[in-house]
């Protein structure tokens, strides 16, 4: 057999790495709104990152940012933020962006 498929998993079994591609699911495309952070209000408490179901919050040193490849727009980060620093904004407002793939 001439195998053209390029392996998705590095190991023998289907392990995914939390630092890299997690389960190969394009959950970012499911989003209808995205979390936008007001950095002035953020005190870097990390609750948003703790609560994020797909654990896609990136530590930026003084605040957290959602990895838009995986953020499903569930809004839990906005709900849990004790400073109300996160607002959920409809994706339609970012329609001119084109598709962004980070890292």
């Amino acid at each position: 057999m001439v195998i053209k498929h390029k392996n998705i998993f590095k190991q023998e079994s289907a392990w995914s790495n939390a630092d890299e591609l997690l389960l190969c699911l394009d959950t970012g495309s499911w989003r209808t709104e995205r979390p936008i952070l007001d950095k002035e209000k953020c005190n870097y408490c990390g609750l948003c990152a703790l609560y994020c179901p797909p654990q896609c919050m990136k530590d930026m040193g003084d605040h957290f940012e959602a990895n838009l490849d995986f953020c499903k727009g569930c809004g839990i980060c906005a709900y849990e933020c004790p400073r109300d620093a996160i607002t959920m904004v409809p994706e339609g407002e970012f329609a001119d962006e084109g598709s962004k793939r980070s890292g």
Binding site: M1, V2, I3, K4, H5, A14
Partner: protein, 398 residues
């Protein structure tokens, strides 16, 4: 005496299955919802709530319990029905074997989906394959109408006094479970009529309150051997019975499916492709197209998987120059796909010709027209003596 024309509705495979089950008037139903069959369980509950289905609906916490419930109800004499898929099917692993070991004529509807190991919520026949040796009769269908018709035939088969075996009716999850097509729903009195011959047969043994008796109690030494022997002999009787019931169904309802297998344009074919399930429909369009090009190719649709329709396959494939088998599952331990592997047992009788195994259509990947065209072309080349690849995992080569 012919059946009346039924109502035509555009409904999904799941809803069709629910209709098929309801029309047979099961007395005890216990079906746990699971993707891609959830709508089926919901529709049955809906029929019950609307008074259309007069059955004891037993709600359980999982599929292992649902199979135990219907098995027990069945040996208490009830007509029973359950439905599941993949994870649910493997969850009832022990209960599946108890049911067939007890010779309880349960009918189970299985919407094929990939099995555990790599969490798959997608179509594939691995669940049916993984239950190969559970002692159940297994049939797999091609389209929505066939789901309904086969469920009716399943009750007639399971409860036949000569058979008394549980029957699993399989249909491809996603491809058929969610596929909406125009389906003719028979009138319930006609279904009663079709199942009526069962009433004329001797009554099968059943548990009766107040009468001490046991079913499937310890088989030690020859008790076990005898029970297993009778079970296997009953399996052998299933093959002819499936053909008979299909003929009767055809005469009564005007729709017939060939019984154990269906042969499509095989009479003068030099090469044959063997498929099962929904991919068969797609394959037919390829066969017609290739025939128009002058390739003498035919199609065999495998309907009965357990017991394996050996005799009918030999009749259909004997004398052909090469055969291609498309499996929608894998066989752990053999390089071939499971249906191909079993078909190879018939090598001596079919003739020592190339039998090419194709593994395709796993996890919601289509078995599409270009794939099947490739199969025909390679089998055709093999028939002409050109070198060929014995096993091909089509998605891995793309």
């Amino acid at each position: 005496m012919k059946a009346q024309k039924g109502q035509v509705r555009v409904i999904t495979g799941n809803a069709t299955a629910a209709y098929g089950a309801m029309l047979c008037r099961p007395e005890v139903v216990s079906a746990y919802p699971i993707t891609p069959q959830s709508e089926l369980a919901e529709q049955l509950a809906s029929f019950h709530a609307d008074g259309i289905l007069d059955a004891e609906m037993v709600m359980v916490e999982g599929e292992n319990s649902s199979m135990n419930v219907v098995c027990a109800a069945s040996i208490a004499g009830a007509r029973t029905l359950t439905a599941t898929s993949s994870y649910g099917l493997v969850f009832m692993y022990d209960a599946l074997q108890e049911t067939s070991g007890f010779r309880a004529p349960v009918v189970m509807i299985n919407a094929n989906r990939e099995t555990p190991g790599i969490h798959a919520v997608s179509s594939g026949q691995q669940d049916m394959i993984s239950a190969r040796d559970t002692g159940w009769v297994q049939i797999i269908v091609e389209n929505d109408q066939e789901i309904l018709d086969q469920i009716i035939m399943a009750f007639r088969l399971a409860e036949d006094y000569d058979i008394q075996l549980p029957v699993m009716v399989n249909y491809d999850g996603f491809y058929l479970s969610y596929l909406a097509e125009a389906v003719e729903i028979p009138v319930i009195e006609d279904v009663d009529q079709f199942l009526a011959p069962l009433k004329k047969q001797p009554e099968r043994p059943k548990l009766v309150p107040g009468e001490p008796r046991g079913c499937g109690t310890h088989g030690i030494e020859m008790g076990y051997v005898e029970a297993r022997y009778k079970h296997c002999m009953a399996m052998e009787r299933v093959t002819k019975k499936v053909d008979e019931i299909d003929r009767d169904f055809g005469e009564y309802f005007g729709r017939s499916y060939g019984g154990q297998i269906e042969e499509y344009r095989t009479e003068d074919a030099e090469i044959v492709v063997v498929t099962s399930g929904s991919a068969t429909g797609t394959a037919r369009t390829v066969i017609d197209a290739k025939r128009a090009e002058g390739v003498k190719v035919g199609l065999v649709k495998l309907r009965l998987f357990r017991p394996f329709p050996a005799e009918r396959l030999v009749q259909a494939l004997k004398g052909k120059k090469a055969i291609g088998v498309i499996d929608r599952s894998v066989c752990f331990g053999w390089k071939y796909g499971p249906i191909c592997m079993e078909l190879r047992v018939l090598y001596p009788e079919i003739g020592l010709v190339p039998i090419l195994s194709y593994i395709d259509g796993l996890a919601n990947l289509d078995i599409n027209i270009p794939h099947i065209e490739r199969v025909v072309e390679e089998v055709h080349a093999a028939a002409q003596g050109k070198p060929y690849q014995e096993v091909t995992w089509i998605p891995m080569e793309e």
